[in-house]
């Protein structure tokens, strides 16, 4: 079950021609696929493209109605290889994953696909993960498109342009026998807008026909001599065909072409941000009418030479807006202009940042520099220096009452605004694994920890500070491969269940067996690929109507030859986890050790169970809710518990004790009673301040009877004790 349900939204996929579609970018892409007559769709989840996978999963009935096959691929390589169906048959197919992480994994298949070329339209939709919130921000899909010769679309980030790019992409792919990559930046994936829908189209040629009438063409297979032919085909046939198509269909756009003798060349994806910058500089209006000529490259690769020369003709200078490094487009333009003997000056990374996201502020700065250089803007007046006056103030001292309240800030704002790094959710079953690792660290000392990609990577941040390297999704165990020698300590690797099935089983576990590793691998099995939004995988416990689940990780691990395997079915058992870790790190047994730590992702569990519990209570059924708390009169404000947990629900509050000043620990209402607080305070011998409240709704008669008796006796004793205290009170 995915984190977000699109069941309501997918109804929009049934809209027919002329109706207005309102919604998110990702959903618009799905609608465009249906309107393009695709036969199959595949992909691997990962932000920002996860929602596309979730939309498809929730739209299976619609896909089935249109005869479309939908695959949850095992990895991006699987997804890319799926496009092989379009090599021999006139089948349109689309795959999706995040980039560049996904393009890295998929590149083997992509290279082979691009070599032989395609018959049916093949579209690779990548969620381009560049800038805020990204994982590997410095790389771009552009390089992959260039090296494999895959055409790269980068449409303007509005719904009509995105939808158009999908449809044109299939046509372009078929016209040039080349796969096409459509890149969507994260904000474009999630942008809310509208477009006029078209009719959904059913493919004329079906998968069934392909299976029953297999076709082969040896010249499409990557083996000599065909592969030599492919190289020639790419430049002699496919490239010119693509150029012709792009020119004819006017995929790239010219705005106010002859308005001035300077101009800006911009990738479609950066168009809106650039327009805002130009508008703020009075060089354009809010409707995109610009005083500066613009060439918008909705096709980022290949660069269309004729269009570039046409745009630069008679221009003194152009500015290229191309996010990221290396500046492939700028270099390409330089070559084109140079070879044509053009005298147009080319600006790009000299006026814009070489690296980093092109935010509105950066583009404003760059456009201003360009405008000032060519006299279209007056330089801003230099502000007169302001002399800083530090006001004299009495500063509050710790533990001293009655100091005046500062009405004016006395410190720079940066000191008061802290980072909020992502962390484990309330009740996350992964937290106790790392709490246990902290406890083991106290006893056995620090170990080398090879981390992986996934929620569990939050362990590298405070308060855990565990993890030395991370080499890629599913590569936790592989990352410790070299650290395998006679030593007093073993390396520890962490791997998620998502990464395990993606490639970790072979790249990590089987590799460790084969190479006789002595290290420990912890497989965090929380039932889903949680970091990407909680999609089901092979080992999910959920019953999924269209996928096969319930395949245990332990069996797979034993299957490749690991002898020392332990499965802990409740990660919240911190002491048990600690002991299992200690055992794995100290056992005399040779060979790889694998510890499978199982507990369901709390985010998904709560989403499933909360409505059920509410319903049960409403129906009068007995329900027990658990919540932790901290007694503020026994808490001394050291916050060890927080340092071993970092739970969002475990916070602090002002000390109610008039004699103390340090804030006390405090459990917020969002607590789900996972039990880690209690387990940690036991295992770490912390303090007796934690309590667990069990609240029984719709108590049974026995509950009420017992409670009544207890309350009478304890209440009587408490009243007596209170009376004695009251005697001395004042």
């Amino acid at each position: 079950m995915a984190e977000r349900s699109f069941v309501e939204e997918v109804k929009k996929l049934r809209l027919s021609g002329g109706e207005v579609f309102r919604g998110e970018g990702i959903l618009a892409v799905t609608k465009a696929l249906l309107e393009s007559g695709v036969s199959y769709v595949a992909g691997y989840q990962g932000a920002p493209i996860s929602h596309l996978m979730d939309v498809l999963a929730d739209a299976q009935d619609i896909l089935t109605e249109h005869g479309i096959r939908f695959e949850n691929s095992a990895s991006e390589a699987t997804a890319a290889a799926t496009l092989a169906a379009s090599v021999n048959y006139p089948l349109r197919g689309a795959v999706t994953f995040k980039a560049t992480v996904g393009t890295n994994v998929a590149s083997d298949a992509l290279a082979n696909l691009a070599s032989g070329g395609v018959t049916g339209g093949a579209l690779i939709i990548v969620g381009e993960d560049y800038g805020e919130g990204s994982s590997i921000m410095q790389e771009r899909s552009h390089a992959f498109a260039m090296k494999s010769q895959i055409w790269l679309l980068d449409p303007r980030p509005n719904l009509p342009s995105i939808v158009d790019a999908v449809k044109q992409g299939f046509d372009l792919s078929e016209a040039s026998n080349t796969p096409v990559m459509l890149q969507l930046r994260i904000r474009a994936c999630h942008v809310h807008g509208q477009f006029i829908a078209g009719d959904n189209r059913r493919a004329k040629f079906t998968l069934k026909e392909a299976l029953e009438n297999p076709q082969r063409d040896v010249s499409r297979i990557v083996l000599p001599p065909a592969s030599f032919l492919h190289e020639q085909e790419k430049v002699k046939d496919r490239w010119p065909a693509a150029v012709k198509f792009i020119e004819e269909r006017k995929l790239n756009e010219f705005f106010s072409e002859g308005a001035d003798d300077i101009g800006i060349i911009v990738q479609g994806g950066s168009y809106n941000t650039l327009m805002r910058a130009l508008e703020r500089l009075d060089l354009a209006d809010v409707y995109g009418n610009t005083k500066v000529p613009l060439y918008v490259m909705n096709v980022a690769y290949p660069v269309i030479e004729s269009e570039v020369l046409r745009f630069c003709e008679g221009k003194r200078a152009v500015l290229v807006v191309e996010e990221g490094q290396p500046n492939f487009i700028e270099q390409n333009l330089a070559t084109i202009l140079r070879q044509a003997g053009s005298s147009t000056a080319l600006h790009g990374k000299d006026m814009l940042p070489v690296a980093g996201e092109y935010t509105a502020a950066e583009l404003l700065k760059g456009a201003r520099t360009f405008g000032e250089r060519y006299g279209r803007l007056q330089p801003l007046p230099v502000p007169a220096p302001v002399r800083k006056i530090i006001p004299l103030k009495a500063v509050a001292e710790i533990g001293v009452d009655g100091a005046p309240e500062p009405s004016e800030p006395v410190r720079p704002l940066a000191e008061s605004v802290h980072a909020r790094p992502p962390g484990f959710c309330t009740g996350c079953p992964e937290r106790p694994i790392f709490s246990a690792m902290k406890l083991v660290e106290r006893e056995l000392g620090a170990h080398h920890v090879s981390a992986d990609i996934g929620c569990h990577l939050f362990s590298i941040l405070p308060p855990f500070n565990i993890g030395n390297t991370t080499m890629g999704y599913g590569l936790g165990a592989a990352g410790a491969a070299a650290l395998n020698t006679q030593a007093g300590k073993r390396a520890i690797s962490v791997m998620g269940d998502g990464g395990f099935w993606h490639n970790g089983l072979t790249s990590g576990i089987a590799n460790a067996v084969f190479n006789e590793s002595d290290n420990l691998t912890i497989v965090v099995d929380n039932n889903y690929t949680s970091a990407t939004g909680g999609q089901d995988i092979l080992s999910s416990k959920a019953v999924n109507a269209t996928r096969s689940t319930g395949h245990e990780i332990e069996r797979a691990v034993r299957g490749v030859g690991v002898k020392w395997v332990k499965t802990l079915r409740r990660t919240y058992d911190v002491a048990g986890m600690r002991d299992a870790l200690k055992d794995a790190l100290t056992t005399k047994q040779k060979g790889p050790k694998v510890l499978v730590a199982q507990s369901e992702c709390m985010l998904n569990r709560q989403r499933r169970e909360k409505p059920l519990v509410r319903k049960a209570i409403a129906e009068g059924k007995r329900q027990v809710r658990e919540k932790f708390g901290v007694d503020s009169d026994t808490c001394t404000g050291d916050h060890s518990c927080i340092r071993l947990s970092g739970c969002p629900s475990l916070s602090i509050k002002p000390n109610p004790d008039p004699l103390r000043t340090d804030p006390v620990a405090h459990v917020l209402d969002s607590c789900v009673g996972c039990g880690v607080c209690g387990e940690v305070s036991h295992a770490a011998v912390l303090c007796p301040s934690f309590y667990k409240a069990q609240i029984v709704s719709n108590p049974s008669r026995w509950d009420r009877l017992r409670d009544g008796l207890r309350q009478r006796v304890i209440g009587w004793l408490q009243r007596g004790e209170a009376k004695r205290r009251a005697e001395y009170a004042f």
Partner: protein, 496 residues
């Protein structure tokens, strides 16, 4: 020329920033506006902070001009009309990012705090001063509408996004009527009633209806009934200067509760000695020593914890914190892990020492205390067990722990006295070093170790140490669990 209306929402995971953005978009679209929103989700889901950005443009205007507005996907610093922040530090972040400018931005923010991990995990008090954040926000914004929206949400049984939506309406900065706002909530169809209630309350607050202010209740004059207690209270009022009396009365109250009237008397004897020290600092040394002495003399032992856990007031507090409703049954479970050491310390000294040095019995107790125990205080068995432990305060004066703590207290007081003779400011810092010793088990041992280290450094430095240096050492001891900072600070001041 008309500009789009630009709204940025800063929120953390689970606070409904996305819902709020969707409401604004829906309201815009329903009212003849082109509306666009986007965000970088994902990190927000998992406790991070994120920005949702909305732009609105009148459709009629676009039609008249014959164009389609090009709307941006991210805010441009200095170009935002309204910033909504679900929490005070997030408001500070908006200011830091330059989104709040005094020429145009209305900042609507909740004043409550969701503490950052750095603030929460500090060993002492790591909280940021809210006044700093408020001051910066006030200076940066054109208008700053603020109140505790978490409380407002709680009071109406709703969520903070509904409160922000109400405050946005009340601020009157968007061209939509209250009816249009409320219709949006109703169209949403989820939790409509509480949302509307929260909306209404927030609307009123943003319109400037001040909440009834709760002035802090004046501290009632002490009214002792017991003659021995009355004598102590009168002694405080007679012998000590007015500004210190409140702390002393708190100290007396705590120590009677902790042990008995005599023990509180001992407290006042000790404080009286401090009052006689030469210090012309407006009672600062006296007040700080009195405060820390009360804390030290009421050190946490098993009897004390058991006493606090079994009180009726405590049961009521848990009932409130767990939000137990009529007809529900509550059970309270304590997580306790007494070790051999704590048990021996609580027994009469002779018996405790015997147990500590024995072989068989010691092993037995050690085995029994290897694992933590969960004691259900709300059950008869658990309650009676803890009551028995609480009753052990009767022989507290004869325990090993009592002897140890009293020796340390006396040494500390002697050091304060000795330091005050030379440098009263330094004596205040010495007094405040009691803050290092807190917690239980390992935490307590670590604190004590740090305290001893700092005191040893003080001893070595003699008169040559400045008050600020001692304070620095104390802060360093509270900076990390492993003592790295303290070691570095000692080395820096050549006190290692």
């Amino acid at each position: 020329m008309t500009q789009p209306i630009k709204v940025a929402i800063l929120a953390m995971g689970g606070e409904g920033g996305g819902v709020l953005a969707d409401w604004i978009v829906d309201m815009g679209e329903a009212s003849g506006y082109v509306a666009q929103t986007t965000s970088v989700p994902g990190v927000a889901q998992r406790t991070g902070a994120t920005i949702y950005y909305v732009e609105l443009f009148p459709q009629a205007q676009a039609d008249a001009a014959g164009g389609k507005p090009v709307l941006a996907l991210m805010p441009l610093p200095g170009d935002v009309d309204v910033v909504l922040a679900s929490e005070l530090m997030e408001a500070g972040r908006a200011v830091q990012r330059g989104l709040v400018t005094s020429d145009r931005t209305t900042l609507i923010a909740s004043t409550h705090r969701v503490y950052s991990i750095a603030e929460k995990s500090a060993m002492g008090d790591g909280r940021v001063d809210s006044n700093e954040l408020l001051g910066h926000a006030e200076r940066a914004a054109k208008r700053f509408i603020r109140f505790d929206m978490a409380q407002a949400a709680e009071a109406s049984g709703s969520v903070i996004s509904a409160v922000l939506f109400g405050a946005l309406c009340g601020a009157g900065v968007l061209p939509f009527s209250r009816a249009q706002f409320e219709a949006t909530i109703e169209r949403g169809g989820v939790g409509v009633k509480p949302s509307l209630k929260a909306f209404g309350a927030a609307f009123a607050r943003a319109q400037g209806e001040a909440e009834a202010t709760h002035a802090a209740p004046p501290t009632p004059a002490p009214q002792p009934r017991h003659p021995a207690v009355r004598a102590l209270v009168e002694r405080v009022q007679r012998d000590f200067p007015d500004p210190v009396q409140q702390v002393l009365l708190e100290g007396v109250r705590r120590l009677i509760d902790y042990q008995d009237v005599d023990y509180a008397g001992l407290y006042l004897d000790r404080v009286a000695a401090v009052a006689a020290l030469p210090a012309n600092d407006g009672g600062k040394l006296l007040r700080e020593t009195a405060r820390h002495l009360a804390l030290w003399m009421s050190y946490e032992d098993t009897a004390r914890v058991a006493a606090l856990k079994t009180r009726s007031t405590r049961f009521d507090r848990v009932r409130g914190e767990a939000r137990v409703q009529q007809g529900q049954v509550l059970a309270i479970n304590e997580f306790m892990h007494p070790r051999l050491q704590e048990i021996c310390e609580t027994l009469p000294a002779g018996f405790g020492r015997w147990l500590m040095n024995s072989t068989g019995p010691r092993k037995l107790v050690e085995r029994m205390t290897q694992k933590g125990r969960v004691i259900q205080t709300s059950s008869l068995r658990g309650y009676l067990m803890l009551r028995t432990v609480a009753g052990m305060k009767r022989w507290r004066r004869s325990t090993i722990r009592y002897a140890d703590e009293n020796r340390r207290i006396e040494e500390w007081l002697a050091r304060i006295a000795e330091t005050a003779a030379r440098n009263p400011e330094l004596a205040v810092e010495v007094a405040q070093c009691q803050r290092l010793v807190k917690g239980y088990s390992d935490t307590h041992e670590r604190g004590l170790r740090n305290y001893d280290t700092v005191m040893a450094a003080l001893q070595r430095a003699g008169a040559a140490i400045a008050p600020a240096t001692l304070r620095e050492l104390r802060d360093a001891a509270l900076a990390d669990e492993h003592g790295h900072k303290l070691r570095a600070a000692l080395a820096q001041h050549a006190l290692a």
